[in-house]
């Protein structure tokens, strides 16, 4: 619920700091990862191996929508949505790739990004 003031730099003029205002927590970038991996529905994010709690997931989807990284498209007549990454979210792919490469180099063994990471547009 707290306003992250995403319309401008809130903590400083440093773009890293402003980016971290939106992304700097334990779960947000994992949601983005799943988004870039082609997931669209609540349950799809939920079943990621890290096991994000449903209340946290709900909160992050909301905040990312407010921050302009997700477009929540109503599905049918229900309260359900498809969570579609905006261009701003898609633009995070280089960051995610760099982060994944680093994590892989320094903490894991071998790993290659899924094919879905290498091409994909903002719109379905």
């Amino acid at each position: 619920m707290s306003d992250r003031s995403h319309t401008a730099q809130s903590r400083s003029e440093c773009p890293v700091a402003t980016a971290l205002d939106v992304l700097g927590d334990k779960w947000t970038l994992l949601v983005i990862r799943d988004l870039l991996d082609g997931r669209r529905r609540f349950s799809e994010f939920e079943r990621s191996p890290e096991g994000i709690p449903t209340n946290i997931l709900s909160d992050r989807l909301k905040k990312l929508t407010e921050a302009g990284l997700i477009e929540a498209r109503p599905r049918g007549t229900t309260t359900r949505f498809d969570y579609v990454p905006t261009d701003a979210a898609v633009a995070l792919r280089p960051t995610l790739l760099a982060l994944a490469a680093w994590g892989n180099d320094h903490f894991a063994d071998t790993w290659t990004p899924p094919a879905t990471w290498l091409e994909q547009s903002a719109e379905s």
Copy 2:
């Protein structure tokens, strides 16, 4: 104090998740940014515009040291240190650059990385 189990992937096999186990919070990547920007002393980190509290800074320097991203070199005979980035920390520069570029593109106006970001080795 809590062990982050940095010696292996703790939350899953995904390198993004393992990277986030070390970096996924509000302050850590800002400390890394300052480290890559050439800062070495407690007070230098402290005076960054974001205003990190001293107890948080102390904690992060400790955790980054445990995680192998910082080498804490004693300075003189006191309890003071120079905090030097290891190769693992330096290897985060592409990630930071990508993140900064994204933050700049989507939340700020114009910005270019400081010259210190473009070249610098792990050792002083």
